[in-house]
Amino acid sequence: MKDQIINEHESLAIIQQMIDKSKERIVDNSLYFYMWGFAVSICAITQYILLKMLFTRTQYVWLLMPFMAIVHVWIAIKREKTALRKTHHDFAIQSVWMALGIAFFIIVGLSFQVSFNLFSFLILLYGIGTFTTGRIIQFTPLIMGGCVCFILCVLINFIDGPEQLLILALSVIAAYIIPAYLLQQDFKKHISTAK
């Protein structure tokens, strides 16, 4: 492409061509969903097993979470630096998850002072994140995963004891792990058809 004068039809063609090029690449963001999906489900199931084996202080399994947050931030910064472009969608998704990340810290912090069902609120936040991301990138499995979380955040209030941990694990499997797998497959398919 050169710096030359064009006519009106060429102008429209260039605008259309550039808009199409910006749509060409979809980004594989399944890594974050896998990371958190496996971390939360492994912690929840491990704590459940430990409780069933009558261990005490099982809550320490959740110390993996701050470590995961550090790893997440590190990967995000690295990806941001090497990214060739940032779309409006990327910015919107990033903003949603930043707000949810802050909400997670507030809710977990509050749970030490105020009595409420922490897991119910966490599942609700998972649902909001996946549902919104699914709507933005128009990916149905994420929207469905979000809907499953909306149901589970209500259902968990009618279940007592350690079994709540299994509901928590189920929520991240439905909202993070399964959609992440499908997102990755979709990305691979997109790449192979683009070649």
């Binding site: 492409m1 710096d3 030359q4 260039i14 605008i15 550039m18 808009i19 910006s22 630096k81 472009r85």
Partner: protein, 98 residues
């Protein structure tokens, strides 16, 4: 009605229009991404980006990534308005209102 010749001369050029159209579609883009999308040469792209920057249509951020220079471009509000006006002008030219 504005005539075709009245179109923003800064946008009414193949490469500059392509750059601005691309930056309207994405939030920000790296120099190499713009180069790949527009098929422009290094030198020509640099010149056109500077012209758009001087007109305050785009922002250019220079940084270093692994010791290599990295140039990131982003459209400004002024650039976005100019682009919208350009598209309106073309639309009016192609189907003038009676």
């Amino acid at each position: 009605m504005r005539k075709f010749g009245d179109l923003d001369p800064l946008l009414h050029s193949q490469l500059r229009l392509a750059i601005v159209s691309l930056l309207v579609s994405v939030k920000e883009a790296d120099f190499s991404y713009i180069q790949e999308a527009t098929n422009a040469t290094n030198g020509n792209l640099s010149v056109q980006l500077t012209k758009l920057k001087d007109a305050e249509y785009i922002d250019i951020k220079k940084s270093f990534e692994n010791n290599y220079p990295k140039t990131t471009c982003k459209i400004t509000k002024k650039g976005l308005k100019a682009f919208e006006r350009y598209v309106d002008d073309i639309r009016n030219y192609l189907s003038p209102k009676k």
